[in-house]
Each structure stands twice: as C-alpha cells, then as structure tokens.
C-alpha cells in the first residue's frame, strides 16, 4: 500500500513521515509537492508537521489553499484515510476537514517533550492496531496546540466519539495536570464524523523506533496497514 506525504513550503516533518512509512513500517511512500494536484495513487494521505508558510498568519491558514488540497479533500470525501500530524492537523482544521481550531498554548511557550497520550477510539484507520485506552508515549513539539471548539461543537464531537486521542498520565488518567497545552477536554487528536480523517498534535512518526525514545507511534501508521489488510479501505 502507499502513503503519500504532502510537502508544503515550510513542512519540516515531511521526510520524517516518509521515512517512518517507508523504512520503519516498510510500505511504499511518496512525497507530493503542494502545487501538484495528483496524490500519486495514495492509499493513505499524510499532512505532515512543520511550519507551512512559516505559520505566519495562523497555523495552517495559507496551506489550506494549496492546489493539492483539492485532491486531499476529494480523497477524504471518497472515504480515503487522511492523517494530519501537528501542523497537518492545523491545516485540516483550517480547511474545515476537521471541526474546531487551534489557539496558542495556555502557557504561551512552545512545548517539546515526550507525553503520554491515551487512545480513545480504535475504529479509525489510524488507531485500529491500538488497544482501547492504550497509552502511547509520543513527542509533542508545538506552540499552538491548544484545541478549541465552540461548546455545541465540542459536545457534538464528544457525543459522536470523535475524540481519538487525549493527553493523560502514564497510567491513562486524564486531568488538567497532564494537559500540556490547555486543550479543551485534554484533546490531543480528533476525527471527522466519517472517521477517515484524523488529526493529532503529537508526532507518532517521531516515536516509531525504540532508539528514538519510544516506538509507540509506529502503531499509528501500522493501524493504516492493518485497516487496509482487513479490507477497510473504501475510497478506491
């Protein structure tokens, strides 16, 4: 199967995602330039981390107008699995493919550290290989990862089980003490109603090898492989 990783000007984890998909998980992978309009036969699309367009206006605000985003949207509409990591998550929010928005971390500063993240839902293409409530150790590295949605939207995404990841303690307890950025309901990642588009602030691709401090993140990409093996890819 094939992972296509979109490269925006200013993406900086594009190669990391490509490397994790191709060298660690061992699948085909391609880097797709944002000015292209063809996803090169992708089975899975990844919008990677970084600072697209410098994040100068708002994170993800300019990237959502890139030519490739039309193809990404069409792919998502067909049910294709799309994963937005960090800046990629922010792009998905700005593009309206996921609900809500990001604001500055509550403690304002950029925060870079390994944090425990609890898997809330396993019926998405990016968590299918995880156990329910499994705690993954994943790095975060962002200045604007403070997830916000208006109250009615938040209630709805909770009701529809769209919260896929939450920040937690190492043993899986969710509380403000383990919320690194002030996100509402400790949200670290969500999916759309159809559950094929997932965005998260932590970086699973950077935690896919034990040598790098944690291999837990490998499960996220491996989930997509499992999903495909079980015939769950519906977009083709």
């Amino acid at each position: 199967m094939k992972f296509s990783v979109v490269v925006f000007p200013g993406s900086n984890s594009d190669y990391d995602a490509f490397y994790a998909a191709s060298r660690v998980v061992g699948e085909d992978a391609a880097l797709v330039w944002h000015k292209d309009t063809d996803l090169q036969g992708a089975d899975v699309v990844i919008l990677p981390g970084g600072f697209a367009h410098g994040d100068y206006l708002r994170t993800g605000a300019i990237a959502r107008f890139s030519p490739i985003m039309g193809a990404v949207k069409a792919f998502a509409d067909r049910g294709g699995p799309v994963l937005g990591i960090c800046n990629g998550f922010q792009v998905l929010l700005e593009a309206g493919l996921l609900p809500g928005a990001m604001v500055r971390n509550d403690r304002v500063k950029f925060v870079s550290q390994l944090v425990p993240v609890r898997v809330e839902q396993t019926d998405t293409p990016f968590t299918a290989a995880c156990a329910s409530k499994q705690v993954l150790r994943l790095p975060i590295a962002h200045g604007e990862g403070n997830y916000y949605a208006p109250p009615e939207v938040l209630a709805e995404i909770e009701a529809r089980r769209q919260v896929v990841f939450r920040y937690s303690s190492p043993s899986g307890e969710v509380s403000d003490a383990y919320n690194p950025n002030g996100s509402l309901n400790s949200i670290a990642g969500i999916c759309n109603r159809e559950r094929n588009v997932v965005g998260l602030m932590p970086h699973p691709e950077r935690a896919s090898e034990a040598q790098l401090g944690s291999a837990d993140g490998r499960l996220v990409l491996a989930s997509a492989v499992k999903w495909a093996a079980e015939g769950m890819l519906r977009h083709a």
Binding site: P9, G10, N12, S13, D16, Y19, A20, W33, G49, G50, F51, H53, G54, D55, Y56, V108, K109, F110, V111, S112, Q113, L114, P139, A141, G143, H203, E205, R206, A207, S208, E209, Q211, L212, G213
Partner: protein, 741 residues
Amino acid sequence: MTVIDSQVLERHGLKPDEYERILQLMGREPNLLELGMFSVMWSEHCSYKSSRVHLKTLPTTGPRVVQGPGENAGAVDIGDGLCAVFKIESHNHPSFIEPYQGAATGVGGIIRDIFTMGARPIALLNALRFGSLDTALARRIFEGVVAGVGGYGNSIGIPTVGGEIVFDEMYAGNPLVNVLCLGISRIDGIVKGAARGAGNPVFYVGARTGRDGIHGATMASAEFDDKSAEKRPAVQVGDPFMEKLLMEACLEVMKTGAVLGIQDMGAAGLSCATSEMGSRGGCGMTIDVMHVPQRETGMTPYEIMLSESQERMLLVVQKGREREVEQVFEKWDLHAVQVGEVIDGSRLKIHERGVLVAEVPNRALTDEAPVYRRPMHEPSWQKDVRQLSLAELGPAPPAQAAFDRLVAAPTIASKRWAYRQYDHSVGTNTIAQPGMSAAVVRVKGTTRGLALSVDGNGRFCYLDPHRGAMLAVAEAARNVACAGGEPIGGTNNLNFGNPERPEIMWQLGEAVRGIGDACRALGIPITGGNVSLYNETEGRAIFPTPVLGVVGLLDDASKTATRTFKRDAAAVVLLGDNLGELGGSEYLAAMHGKVCGPPPALDLKREAALQKLIVALVREGTVESAHDCSEGGLAIALAECTFDSGGIGVTADLALVGDANATLFGESASRIVVSTPEDRVAAVMAAAKSAGVPAAVIGKTGGDRIRLTVNGGAAVNSSVTDAEQAWATAIERKMSGRAPL
C-alpha cells in the same frame, strides 16, 4: 564627493594607519563606497585581525579532516563516504540589544554556513551566558534568547539537541549566544565558497536587500557604551520560513552540479560574499547593484553593498545552465536573479546601472586585511586571584546545606525550562536528548552516530586562561566520550573583551595556546570557529570565555550511554582521581561569593587515557551509565545520575581529600562516574588498570535517597524526589511570573 577625513574614518571604525594601508593597496584614494567596503571587511568580526596570528597556531589537520578553517564551515570524514560539517558562531551583541531577534538571526546565520557547504543540517547546539537570574534584565534577556533560538530552529525543522547555560554577573551586560550547527554531506558533494571561470554568471537569491544591519559588522567590533542605543536599528528580524525555502532550494540546486560556488551573505553582506568568493577562486567579479532585489526604494550602492539583510545567498553558476538553476528556485517560490559575472583578474567591480562605482582588488578586502600582533600583558591581578586559602574563607558550611544550594543553582540546575522550548525530536535522529551529558544523533543510512557537546568555563579561564581553555577542550571531549563517541573534530568560539587592552590580548593568546595544547594531546583537529571580541560594557570585560564544540563518532549508534543510573544494586565506580580542588568552583561562588584559586590541574596524557577507556567501556556495554564530573563536583555528578532515572538512589562513600566539602564539591578534571552490574566490576577495574586510569568502587545504586559519606562520616542525605524536584524546577521558579512576549 565626501572628503575622507578623520571623522569619516572614525565612523567607519578605521584607524589612520589602516587608512594608509588602504591608500597603498588601492594606489589612490578610495571613494566612500570603497571605504565602506574596507570598513566592514577589515572589521574585527570579518578580518580576525587581532586573533589571526594566534588562530594560526591551532592544529587543523588530521586524517579525518576534509575541510579545515577557511571555508564557511569545517568538515570531518565519518566513514561511508560521508562527512560531518559543523561550525560555531556567536551573536552576542545583537542578542543583548534585541534578545529574541538577535538569537534567532544568530541561529539563521550558522545554519546558512552549513547548508552553503552542501550539507543538510541535522543538529543545533547552543552555549549561552547570562547575568544572574535574580535581576530582571537577565531574566528578560534569557527569556528572549531562548525563545529566539527555539523560534528559528523549530520553524526551520533542525532539532536543538544540546547546549549549556551558565549564569554569572560577569555576563550581565554582555550575554553570550554561541550556536553550533552540524550537517551531513557526502564528501564528494561538498561545495565551496569560491568563484570560478570568467564569464560564469553570479546569481543572487533569497530575501530582498533592505537597509538593515548596515554597520552591523562594525558594531560587533565596538565596545558597548551609552551611545550604542543609536546603533539599535542594526538589529534585524529573522525570517526562518525564507531560510527554510533557501535551504531546501540550495541543497536541491547543488545536486544538479550546475553550482560552482556558493556563499551566504552574513556579516558584511554582498561586500564579503563577492570579495571572498573572488579571492578564494583567484578571479575577479563584476556586479551591478541595479539587479540586486531591494526591499526599500532609493537605496544607494553603499547601502546595498553593506546591508546585512538576512537569508540571502550568492551563487556562481556554470554558464549555460542558468535555466536549470532558476527552475529549482522557482519551484520553491524563490526568484534567483543574475547580478553579475566572474571576470578574469582579481578585481571586484561594482556598477550602478552600468556605471563603475567601485573597483577594489578583492584580496585587499580579504587576505590583505591588516593583521595585528597586539601587545599582550599578564594582568597585574592574575597571580592574586589564583590564591586560595580555605582557612581565610571562614567556617565551612555543612555539606548538606552546600548540596541543597548547589543542586538548585541555576548554572547546575536542569535546563529543561529552556530546552522544552526547543524542538529536539524533529528529524528523527535524536538518540540522546538535551539534558544528557552529550547529545547523540544517528546518521541515517548508516549504523553510525555522532555525539556532540559544547563546553566552556569562563571562571577557570579568568583564573588561568591557558589551563581554563585546556579544561574546556577536555570537558567537551570527555562528554562526547561518555556517550561512546570518539572525538574526531572540534570548533571553537572565542568570546573575549577588548583586544586593544594587553591584558585581554594576553587572555586570548593564552586561551588559544591552551586549546592548541589540549587538541594536540587529545587528537582533535580544529576545523573552524569564530571570534567575538569587545565583549565589554563600560570598560568591564566578561570572563574570557572560549567555548569548545567537539564532535565524536560512534561506529554503532546503538552502543551509547547516558548519565542516568539504569538499575538498583549496580556498582558505582569513579574513574579518575578526586583531588579535592575547589579553585574556581561553583561551590566557592555559591557559598562564599568568591571566584578565586587555581583551576583544577589537567594531565593531558591521563585525560586522553581516560577518554579512550570510557569509549571502549561504553561500546562494549561494560558500563550502563557514564557521567562526567564538572560544576558541583562529585556530589552533584552522583545526584545527576539519579535524576531522570525514575528515582534510583545512590549510596557512596568518598575518601577524604582536603576537607569534606572539597571532597564532595571540588571540580577536579578527568573524572567520570560510571555504573555497572556487580558482575562486571572486575572487568571495569581491569580495563582501567591496563589503561593507567585510577578507578575505585565508591558505592552502589538503589534506594530512594542520595546518601553520601566522606570517610564514613555523614555528609549528604537527601531524598531523590526532593533533590530532583529542586534541581528540575530551579530555573522555572526564578522565571515564574515573567511574561514571554
């Protein structure tokens, strides 16, 4: 036309005899533009006129050296056809004036030096010095510098993997911001900053030229005084997004083979890039400033040639392949424009709309710059400050009190407040993160890894610049060795006061001599570096502060060690001798407010043996943790081994040397604390013996306390949790209530 009188010369920072030299080299009077170009190129910052004779004495060769000093960065062979390209650079003065932007543009500058060589940057480190965090000014500068370092590196996606931070009142008015960048390139992919081949076009790419930083280079060479406020617009705003585009585009364009030479425009901007590329390549260059993309209207040739706008590059392209190069830049939304061409001869010709406005032999700006053998004189106070009588200091504080104070002293405490603001995981190469003794990054596509450390101890250098500099080399190399890295190359940043003062010049000379001695003994070639002088405020100089960056090679990146204990009931072994030396220690500064005494002795032969030993022990997996002893001595080193270990305590008994506090907190060199399972103790001791390194089992891991005794007498008994909490949060507590902006 402006007459060049003494006032004009003074404004350009040129001395009358330097002007005489310009007249000679030019064979006529220069015009104002030419004078401006001389002024920036002959500034201390660009010409190294005070330090050059000393730098020449450094060892710069070795079997692994691919590129020594003289290019944008140095390079060493790391096997598999690859080389590590690295250099350190300072941005001290700008960071004082505008901490965020000063630090950010400093990071931007050194990154350009690395990718200019054709190497992909994979790691950043920084060495920072600030005044005491008890002052609002130091907190503001610290806050801004850390945010700026992070802001630039995070955005461009190069992980900041390590560094060091020291707080001392001596840096209150002159913070130091030294940044090291390391990249990886194929050896045959290195591109140099030389122009070649008459008729080849010269391209400009990157940010447009504005009026910023005009005289920035000369600013870095002038002491601060009350008038420095007027020079403030010299600070620039960094644009990491532009730099990211430039980096990707340049690395891509260099792969085409159509680029013959490339150089970034940093200090002295276009003047520097054009003249250096010409003189390195033994040819001339002609450009027309009309073609230079400009951000503001009405810029004069003077302003264009002297501007230090960030994020700009100059390229010499093979004639006929212009389109190929332009296309790569266009892909990245960058517009490369031809501004001139390489010409025969050795002259740099600047035109404005076809009219010749300056013509200078380019070597006059570079190689022919003045070189000074400035007078050196040992300061009259030097011998006095090296005296230390413990008796005269009064009653010694209880060891526990000293331990509690030291563990939370900002210089010793965890720097997590800072490095949590740095993305250290981007790039998926970081094996040992900030907070460990040395950073370790893997080299993708190979089994190899690189260990990196930057170190310097201004106090030691103040007390004895020769020995202090040797200690800095030894410490950086030892840190790298503790991670299993064989030191293979070094870079250095010399941060000193005003070289026109013989005492400062003496410090500089002695320090460079020390770096040379230590590097020769430890087999570490110096492949580059940077010199920052005039670090003074109102006549008061900083501690002489050479900062050493050392790169170590791991053949197998998985065979590394960190400082933290790994299990209960392991033996704790001290490699090296505890000599109980308190001179220049953090203990004396924190408990007695004194900076005095002789810095620790250093036996370079023994240091070399110790480093070889630890590299072997780590690679064989004979030891499970390894930690260098530095600030705070053995007591702090042992405590640090328990921190981040998940609460594994230690019990150790130390043999008395001097008094108890000297035993615990003395900062003797050439010592490493290792832990090893009981059944491997004999192997460690045997290896130490055959290496000629003293070794002693001093205790055992386990429990949840740090229990240290001296000759069996109680000295320190703290819970790991409490000590770790104090250590981890000390800086946060100093910074709380402070607003980042």
